[in-house]
């Protein structure tokens, strides 16, 4: 179905609405392909779009590159180490100090992805299976546990299926909303998928359907979720991008698909 915009554009515009002025936002540096678009490309466009539209003082930390110039003309063609080092930006500081920014409470929205997400927003990038009966050892926590502990709001982007949206995660790399005693950050706030947008119930900490994308049915969402999602009485359509937003993305921010088609990586892809 041609909606007049791509899924990646829809998610970038939706995520941009949660970027606030004067806050630092975090994305990792990712690998390539579709997972890169969800974890890095889409979030970067979201922050850039927010800078253009309502948050001119919002900044982005993308790996070691702090507050880079984000319009296409400044963005390197590849994300090799050399290219990251020379990407025009306002600051490059030691990673331990950059991660220290979290601990000072200055990170607003942080972006994450995961192999598993559960009803409370616990994330898993550690392993599939138990410690003693491991099916797949995944690469590890990276900085997810760090921003998971300290960011004010976490935006999770994953594929919408029962393998990913599970009742219980096998390993917790980011603490969800059922028990965060002693953790200063706000925890998972938003889950974006190819079918819907979810947030979390303020009282129970459980995941709640917020809006459904154009062309997707409620049954489709329910059947592809591995737990009982809270379904409010009225579930709106995810607000589509405006023509102004699409123009900014397509002409200024990402005309070459470096971010939304992962062309900056070695593995171009498409989220649709």
């Amino acid at each position: 179905m041609d909606r007049g915009y791509t899924l990646a554009e829809l998610l970038a515009v939706e995520a941009s609405r949660y970027v606030r002025d004067d806050e630092m936002n975090f994305v990792g540096i990712g690998t390539g392909g579709q997972s890169w678009i969800m974890a890095v490309g889409m979030p970067t466009v979201a922050v850039s779009l927010a800078q253009h539209k309502h948050a001119p003082n919002a900044t982005l930390m993308i790996g070691p590159v702090l507050d880079p110039l984000l319009d296409d003309e400044y963005v390197p063609d590849a994300n090799w180490e050399y290219d990251l080092i020379y990407w025009p930006c306002r600051s490059q500081i030691p990673l331990e100090d950059a991660l220290g920014i979290f601990r000072l409470g200055k990170v607003g929205l942080s972006f994450a992805s995961a192999a598993q997400v559960d009803i409370y927003g616990n994330l898993n990038i550690g392993r599939i299976g138990t410690k003693d009966n491991m099916k797949v050892r995944l690469p590890g926590c990276l900085a997810q546990t760090d921003h998971g502990a300290y960011a004010k709001r976490i935006c999770v982007t994953v594929r919408h299926n029962k393998r990913t949206l599970v009742e219980h995660v096998d390993f917790i790399s980011c603490a969800g909303n059922e028990n965060r005693k002693g953790l200063p950050g706000g925890g998972p706030a938003l889950v974006l998928t190819d079918k819907a947008v979810m947030d979390f119930d303020e009282n129970t900490g459980k995941m709640r359907l917020k809006s459904i994308h154009q062309g997707v049915t409620l049954t489709d969402v329910i059947e592809n979720t591995g737990f009982d999602l809270i379904i409010p009485e009225r579930v709106p359509r995810t607000e589509p991008p405006t023509s102004e937003e699409l123009k900014l993305i397509r002409l200024i921010i990402d005309p070459k698909g470096k971010f939304l088609e992962a062309r900056i990586t070695q593995e171009a892809a498409n989220l649709n």
């Binding site: 690998t31 390539g32 790996g63 070691p64 090799w80 180490e81 050399y82 990251l84 080092i85 020379y86 490059q92 500081i93 030691p94 990673l95 331990e96 950059a98 991660l99 220290g100 979290f102 601990r103 550690g126 410690k131 491991m134 099916k135 797949v136 050892r137 995944l138 690469p139 590890g140 926590c141 990276l142 900085a143 997810q144 546990t145 760090d146 998971g148 502990a149 300290y150 390993f171 917790i172 790399s173 980011c174 603490a175 028990n179 965060r180 005693k181 002693g182 953790l183 200063p184 990586t265 070695q266 593995e267």
Partner: protein, 304 residues
Amino acid sequence: MLERKSKQHSVRDAVALIKDGDKVAIGGSLIRRAPMALVREIVRQKKKDLTLYSWSGGMDYDLLIGAGCVKEAWSSYCGLFQFGMAMNFRRGVESGQVRFVDLSETCAKDKFRAAAFGNTYCISKVPLHTSIMENPEFQNIVTCPFTGEEYVAMEAYHPDVAILHAHRADKYGNVQFDPIRMMDNECDILIAKSAKKVIVSVEEIVNESVVVQNPTWTMLPKIFIDAVVEIPFGAHPNSCDALYDFDLEHGRMYRDYSKTPEKFLEYLNEFVYSCLEHESYIDKCGGTAALKKLCRPAKEKNDG
């Protein structure tokens, strides 16, 4: 003036400082600036039962695990970045042959920093309510005497040996890093300071007078260093800051060879065991001329 001690060693003599069962901390991150030539020499010398520490592992961990040198490994990550999963690491951990201890990036860095500052432990809120706490080393909760806040106490890393790769050094062990570099790798400085012995491979050994021209680049003065080894392209196939890129072709080949233990043994035979000198490894990889294609020109920047 009395003669001063030279710390310049051959790669063989330097790595001979590492003993079976040692705790070895490795610099670099992901597949960037790990001291890969030193790692290959560890494999050639068939070190056993090592415990590895890093904040972000990559091909260094995978190679050492695949060669059977490792009993335990700690890190926030072990993968081959854009080449996907580190298969030797996966097999080693899934089979139980290697104990892997999960950390986040800040937890690992904190443990190095604690040791580098002369402390025996550090505190963090990060592991709370996560699976980092499933290991007994992360189950000590301490309460701040001033605010009452709870933290997980984490013991400082005290590696027997740290191995790193840097840009240049003089023979006395004054180690320099160019001002244009990947700031993700700054933890190398803390890693070096945490260890009892420090071995650094460098792209070039220069005259002390070169070092003296830019003393602020000497981030590891000789007091911290036990051995320096001159190994051009010593991080290969890892990238080395803006000096050379990751070797894509070698990375793809490594990924294919590491799909099974049998195939991986072929890789070890071809690129590690049979390459007694670093030069023969470079020749196997197409020679210096081929590797120079990984170098891109330095750009004007107002640093330094």
